[in-house]
Each structure stands twice: as structure tokens, then as C-alpha cells.
């Protein structure tokens, strides 16, 4: 959208782009470095916020920073300054931010107002107060409040060198604190009551987490703005969750995603200085999120659906082969013969084995053909290939082993076994099969512990 702007197009060239992205200029280098550091710390702290299921707390907290920011500014002006003292401004912002979010917790603990409403109340009332104060500040004679508004939308370009050093130091400190308290925060997020029974001061830990969030928020305010810093706290963590089930890895990945978003976002925004930096940073992070949501290796949508599809196919194949094998068993001249021979089987009998339609069976057969499990098949009968027969006997054997194991070892009525065995055998590993064989002292394919014949559906 913004590339359509003629002014922007004029200033845009690959030269500059490369210069910015690879930090060849001192000014951009500081901006990009500190925004990346901010991203790293936000990603780290945000992971715990996500796991504590309080992602929106960052929302309430950051909105509640506004009145503190303006109060600090007013105090500075009243004492004759210009209001451009970053540490004090941030301290003021952090103070009301922390107060506001602590109030949410207090409301939840002491009244019937739940977390969500508490956040909504704190957020809107504090922000409203902030707006009123901002009005007052703007209309005071001889003050320049333009700097204050950059805190709301974020304008990295408006920052000065000393600011960057302060922000970078703070961001690094937050990251280190977060790592130092990893164990405590993990426990708090996973099992609050257990933590309390161990004697950990849960409320203090909660406040500590809030403090770190407040720190990230005030640090990030100038670079990405107090509304969009929320995104920085939530999005990298949520994106990282799609790639791993391991907390440690999630923390680092989240920090990494935050850092990259900061880097790319800040670089882009110094190329297009008229655009709010925060918005670009957030859009970079959201793009990473959407990619992770779709393709994440642990919980991504595509991965999960593929897994499901694969499992369904595997189960379908196993059902088919076992149905053929069991039919062969029934067709063998001596019913007790444990080793049925491979020969053509009428399709009708396979269909009757399970609640399949003819279409289902045809589909399964077509897939089995591709996997070389079938010798040949037509509308009337089918025969397994060498490998198909081997696979069928292996599958049937696993299934029976499970059934027997469950009957002998787990007090389960034989009439219920078949269904249960169906759902677990597909997950059986070779080691477990071996273990079962040893436990049961069985080497061959045992006979089914329950009658195989089913009523043939008309």
C-alpha cells in the first residue's frame, strides 16, 4: 500500500535498503540494534505472559502507562525542565502501568470482577485519564508535547542516542532477569497451586512478572508505541509455540522472532521514516506468526492435519490388511491352522468384515496397490502380494498380541478388547511388540481370543 506513495518511491532504492538492513550507517545501527534488543526481551517475557494465560495483561498495562507518562512530563515541566528526560518519563509510565495491572489482580482477588472486565476497566479509565492529562499538557504555555505523542504511536526516528543506550541496557537487563527466574516462572505458569504448596510466594512472583512486562512496555513505548508494544509481547511467543513443545526452546525462539521482527521492522521504518515504526514492526511479527500458524513444525495447522491424514491412512491400511488376513484364516480348510495361505479373497467378504462401504474398500485397495501390497484386484476378488501378505500377518500379529496382553494384564473384558486394541496397535513400536512377545511367551501369530466371524451385513 505505502509503496504507492510517490514521495516514498522517490527515496527508495536498493542501495539505501542494503545500507539500512546491514547497519552500514551509524544512526540506523543504533535504532535497529535497540529495537532488536527490545524484541528479544519482549519475546522472552511475553512467553511467560502467554503461558500464564494473561496475554492481554500487557494491553491493560500499556494503556495504563499513559497517565504516568504525562504526569512525569508535567512534573518535569513544573520544575522548569523541557520534559525531555527519558528515565523519569519511563519511570512515571512504568509506575502507573504497574499500578493499573496490579489493580486488575486486586479486583480479581477481592471482588466478583473477573480478569477480563478488570483489564477493560483499568485500560479505559487509565487511558481516559491519560488523555485528559495530555490535553492539559498540550495546552500549557511554552511546552512541546510532540514527543509525548510519539510514545502512543511509536516513532523510533524521534529518539536520541542517549535514549538508545538506555533502552538497550534495560532490554538486556530484562532478558537476563527473565532467564534467571526461568525456573520460578515456569512453576508459576504451569501449576500455581503446587508452587504455593511449596511455599513460593505466588503473588510476589506474579508481581515480578508484571514488573518485567511493565519494563518491556516502557522500554518499547518510544520505539513501537504504547498500543503496539502489546503485539510485541504476544505475537513472538504465540508464533514460537507452534515450533516446539519445549519451554527452553520456545523462550529462545520467541526471543529470536522478537529480535528479527525488531530488526526488519526498524530497518524498514528507517527507510520509510514517515510511517509509524511500531506498525511496521508489528506487521513483520504478524507475518511470522501467520507463517508459523500454518507451517509450525510442532503445532502448525498443516503439520497437524498431515499427521492426522497420515494416521488415518495408516489405520485404514492396517484395517484392510487385517481384514484380508482374517478372511484368509476363515477360508483355510482347517479352522485352527495358524498359518493361512495367501490366495485370492472375494471382495464381498472384505466389505463384510467392517462397517465399510464398497467405495471405502475400493479407495483403500487403490492405495494398497500403490504401496505394492496387492498382487491384483478386480470387482470380485483380490489377492495380496508377497510383501502385502507379510505386512498383513505382521499387523494381525501385533493386534492379537495387544488383545491378549490387555486380557491377561489389564482386567479388560474380552468382548471389549477389539475396539480398544484397534486404537492402540497403530501406535505400537517394535520394542513394545518385542516386549509383548516376551511377556506372553508367544512367537507365532496367536489365534484371536474372541470369535472372528461377524454377522454379515445384508
Amino acid at each position: 500500500m505505502f509503496f504507492g506513495d510517490p514521495i516514498l518511491l522517490a527515496t527508495f532504492s536498493w542501495e539505501i535498503f542494503r545500507e539500512v538492513l546491514f547497519l552500514q550507517e551509524y544512526n540506523t545501527r543504533t535504532v535497529v540494534t535497540s529495537t532488536s534488543l527490545l524484541g528479544i526481551s519482549a519475546g522472552m517475557v511475553g512467553s511467560f505472559l502467554l503461558l500464564r494465560k494473561r496475554s492481554l495483561m500487557g494491553d491493560a498495562l500499556s494503556h495504563a502507562c499513559l497517565p504516568g507518562l504525562v504526569i512525569a512530563f508535567l512534573v518535569l515541566v513544573l520544575f522548569g525542565g523541557t520534559g525531555r528526560n527519558l528515565p523519569i518519563l519511563l519511570l512515571g509510565a512504568g509506575a502507573t502501568g504497574l499500578f493499573g495491572s496490579a489493580m486488575v489482580l486486586w479486583l480479581r482477588n477481592h471482588t466478583r470482577i473477573k480478569d477480563d472486565a478488570g483489564m477493560g476497566i483499568v485500560l479505559s479509565v487509565f487511558f481516559g485519564a491519560g488523555v485528559v492529562l495530555l490535553n492539559i499538557a498540550q495546552k500549557m504555555p511554552g511546552t512541546r508535547t510532540a514527543g509525548l505523542e510519539s510514545f502512543i504511536y511509536g516513532q523510533a526516528a524521534a529518539m536520541m542516542r542517549a535514549d538508545f543506550i538506555l533502552l538497550s541496557v534495560l532490554a538486556v537487563a530484562i532478558t537476563l532477569w527473565c532467564l534467571a527466574l526461568k525456573k520460578e516462572f515456569t512453576l508459576l505458569c504451569f501449576d500455581e497451586n503446587f508452587a504455593r504448596s511449596l511455599g513460593w510466594p505466588v503473588q510476589r512472583l506474579d508481581l515480578f512478572l508484571l514488573l518485567l512486562i511493565a519494563a518491556v512496555t516502557v522500554v518499547g513505548m518510544q520505539a513501537v508505541g504504547l498500543i503496539l508494544i502489546i503485539a510485541f509481547l504476544i505475537i513472538p511467543a504465540a508464533a514460537a509455540r507452534f515450533w516446539t513443545d519445549n519451554l527452553g526452546r520456545m523462550l529462545f525462539l520467541s526471543a529470536f522472532i522478537g529480535g528479527i521482527s525488531g530488526w526488519v521492522g526498524a530497518s524498514l521504518s528507517s527507510l520509510l521514516p514517515r510511517l509509524p515504526a511500531g506498525a511496521i514492526v508489528v506487521l513483520v511479527a504478524s507475518s511470522i506468526f501467520i507463517f508459523s500458524l500454518l507451517f509450525g513444525s510442532a503445532r502448525g495447522i498443516v503439520r497437524r492435519n498431515l499427521d492426522q491424514l497420515r494416521l488415518r491412512r495408516k489405520i485404514g491400511r492396517q484395517h484392510l490388511l487385517r481384514a484380508v488376513y482374517e478372511t484368509l484364516e476363515q477360508m483355510s480348510p482347517t479352522p485352527d491352522d495358524p498359518f493361512p495361505r495367501n490366495r485370492p479373497v472375494p471382495l464381498e467378504r472384505i466389505v463384510a468384515q467392517r462397517s465399510w462401504t464398497r467405495q471405502d474398500v475400493r479407495k483403500l485397495l487403490r492405495r494398497a496397490e500403490r504401496e505394492d501390497h496387492l498382487h491384483e484386484w478386480n470387482e470380485r476378488e483380490l489377492s495380496l502380494s508377497e510383501s502385502g501378505f507379510g505386512e498383513a500377518s505382521r499387523i494381525t500379529r501385533n493386534h492379537r498380541l495387544w488383545e491378549i496382553f490387555m486380557i491377561t494384564h489389564a482386567d479388560i473384558a474380552p468382548s471389549h478388547v477389539d475396539r480398544d486394541a484397534d486404537s492402540v496397535e497403530h501406535l505400537l513400536s517394535p520394542e513394545m511388540v518385542r516386549e509383548l512377545e516376551e511377556k506372553l511367551g508367544l512367537q507365532n501369530i496367536p489365534a484371536s481370543p474372541h470369535p472372528l466371524t461377524r454377522e454379515v451385513h445384508p
Binding site: K183, S197, W200, L247, A410
Partner: protein, 270 residues
């Protein structure tokens, strides 16, 4: 196990309570909003016993546990563990919460959850060391799922998750264990494993207070029982207090299964 209804004497707050009972509850009342959940609980637990807390839904079984553990505010009451206030004795206490109380989607492995049991002894800011993990691994082996240590907890079955919680409590190396419905919705194999574990703990002289919902197995698994319905209806050795009359008092008319349970009981005792 003793029950007291006597008003406490002036000089000693509870003279009739034994000095070093594993857990001694005095005059415990808990209310949510204005509605009392448990009233005037007065109990001394005997040492080295398996004690079941039994009662209908909403009788305050979990509340009793949570109030003892300081997880919920009390209206009144005094909790002593081995003769000292609860807060000083935390290291002697192990806790197995209800399985539903946590989010099993959390990105940690079984081993990491069990390691949480030793966090108390590690202390602030200190990292988890190999020896702590070894201890956790040992606890996992003890409940029979050592091979699942690296599994993410959402990939465990319900019974395995329950065992993880038990292993975590074991890793705490406590003297007094609070278990909130450890038998809820577990498979037969896990149930047997839990019972074996409880017996082992008992042999080591530890005391277990277990919220239990299955009346049919109370007599088989536990030597003491507390029948709870807002108040302690009866408490004592299972053989003495776990009979139809007390059950009727505990469950009132709300219990259609009562007869059945009574039958199961008679069969068990005969």
C-alpha cells in the same frame, strides 16, 4: 484418630491434640463468599497411615485439602504439621493436585514437571542441576514411566499424567502427602500402581491423606477413613467407622448407589 468437640482450654489452645500428629486440624471453617463449605473440622491424623477422605460431591473434600495447604483463605482454624504451624513445615509436605487443575498443553516434558518437586530445595535464581534431574528421573522410574521422561505432557495418557503428578510428589521426599483424587479417571494398571505406591509410602512411615471417590475400594485401599459432608461425620479406622449408618449420614438421600456400596462393603469385610 481422635475427634474433639470440647471447647479449647484457655491456657493451651488445644491440649487434647497430640503434639506431633502428622496433621492436626483445629476448628477449621472455610467459606466461599458467605456460604460455608466446611465447618468446624477438628482432626488429628495418625502417623504412617493411608487415610481416605470420602464424601458426596460438594462435601468440601478438596476444600479441606486446599485449606490445609493454605491455598484458600480460612474463616477460622489452625493447622499444625508435626506439632508446628504449617508454614514452618512446608518441606515435610507433598501435594498431588487434581489432574484437571493444570493445562496439560503446557510446553514441558514429564521429567521437567517432576523436577518441579525439588524446586523447593533448589532456591531462588539457582538453576536446575543434573543431580536434581537424576532425582526426578528416579521418581519417574518408581511410578513405572521412566521411559516417558522426555515426552511432552500432552502426549501422555490420563493415567500417565496422574503418575507424573505422583512422581513429582515423590520427588518432594515429604513425610505427609495430600492427594486430591489421584484415582479419578485412571486405567486399571495405573490404579494398581498408585495403590502399590501408597503401600510403599506407608511402609516408609509416611502419612497419606487421599481424597477418594470410589466407595467400593475404600475398605481395600485405606486403613483410615474420614467421612466428610461439610462437617466430619465420622473418622477413624476403616473397619470401625466405614459402615452403612455413617455412610447414610454422610450421603443422606443423595446417594442412590448407597445400597450397592454397602453390599460391596459387606462382601469386603466378610
Amino acid at each position: 484418630m481422635t475427634k474433639t468437640n470440647l471447647p479449647p482450654a484457655e491456657d493451651d489452645p488445644h491440649p487434647e491434640h497430640s503434639r506431633d500428629a502428622p496433621l492436626s486440624i483445629h476448628d477449621l471453617t472455610v467459606a466461599y463468599h458467605r456460604k460455608p463449605v466446611i465447618w468446624d473440622i477438628d482432626l488429628d491424623l495418625p502417623e504412617g497411615k493411608l487415610i481416605a477422605v470420602v464424601g458426596p460431591n460438594g462435601a468440601g473434600k478438596s476444600t479441606l485439602l486446599k485449606a490445609c495447604l493454605d491455598l484458600i483463605p480460612r474463616v477460622s482454624g489452625d493447622i499444625r504439621v508435626y506439632g508446628k504451624p504449617y508454614r514452618q513445615q512446608r518441606s515435610l509436605i507433598g501435594y498431588v493436585p487434581q489432574r484437571e487443575s493444570v493445562d496439560w498443553d503446557f510446553p514441558v516434558s514429564a521429567l521437567e514437571v517432576v523436577t518441579m518437586g525439588v524446586y523447593g530445595s533448589i532456591g531462588w535464581f539457582r538453576p536446575v542441576l543434573r543431580k536434581h534431574r537424576a532425582k526426578a528421573q528416579e521418581a519417574l522410574e518408581k511410578v513405572g514411566i521412566g521411559h516417558l521422561a522426555g515426552r511432552q505432557i500432552s502426549q501422555l495418557s490420563g493415567g500417565q499424567q496422574q503418575r507424573v503428578f505422583l512422581a513429582r510428589a515423590l520427588a518432594q521426599e515429604a513425610q505427609l502427602y495430600f492427594m486430591d483424587e489421584p484415582f479419578a479417571a485412571v486405567d486399571a494398571a495405573t490404579e494398581r500402581a498408585i495403590v502399590a505406591l501408597l503401600r510403599e509410602l506407608q511402609q516408609q512411615g509416611k502419612t497419606c491423606l487421599v481424597v477418594h471417590h470410589d466407595l467400593a475400594t475404600v475398605a481395600r485401599y485405606f486403613d483410615h477413613v474420614i467421612l466428610l459432608n461439610m462437617r466430619v461425620v465420622a473418622a477413624g479406622p476403616t473397619a470401625e467407622v466405614f459402615h452403612n449408618e455413617n455412610l447414610q449420614k454422610t450421603y443422606g438421600g443423595k446417594m442412590p448407589l448407597l445400597e450397592e456400596a454397602g453390599q460391596a462393603l459387606r462382601q469386603n469385610l466378610s
